[in-house]
Subunit: 87 residues, 2 copies
């Protein structure tokens, strides 16, 4: 099995109020050295064996484009790991 | 500057309906080889220079415990990178 880690973040130009709120809360708590906060989503997909690297890349990109990320507002990147090794 | 990547996931025993919904949607779309979906949060904190590694670890753990993760339901881990190198 493969473990695919997908990171979805807002694009630079998109305002993210949740990240802003975390940043402000950190300032209130006294963490003045935190200069920026970004907040995104993190998916771990466990994928059955039997696909080549190219097929896997194709499938993951398709899944991200269709479901996990909104291409108007979000960027994504992913890493493919061996699930057993990652346990 | 340092870039700290924080990953917050639900603990194994905690039901995550959002991840379940994504998993079901993937099945409906025909991706039968996706065996499991986990969904968590992904933070990127930009931290000013001037702290030792130990001070940085202390601060990040404190921030995670206080604000970013709910220790009853969530686990977190983080990686510290050099922000300039990561651009």
């Amino acid at each position: 099995m493969a473990l695919v880690k997908v990171y979805v973040n807002y694009k630079q130009s998109i305002l993210n109020p949740e990240a802003e709120a975390v940043h402000k809360a950190l300032k209130r708590l006294g963490y003045a050295d935190i200069e920026d906060v970004k907040l995104g989503k993190y998916f771990e997909l466990t994928v059955a064996d039997g696909k080549s690297q190219a097929e896997m890349d194709h499938e993951i990109n398709e899944i991200c484009d269709k479901l996990l990320a909104n291409y108007n507002m979000e960027n994504y990147h992913y890493e493919i790991e061996d699930a057993e090794a990652a346990q």
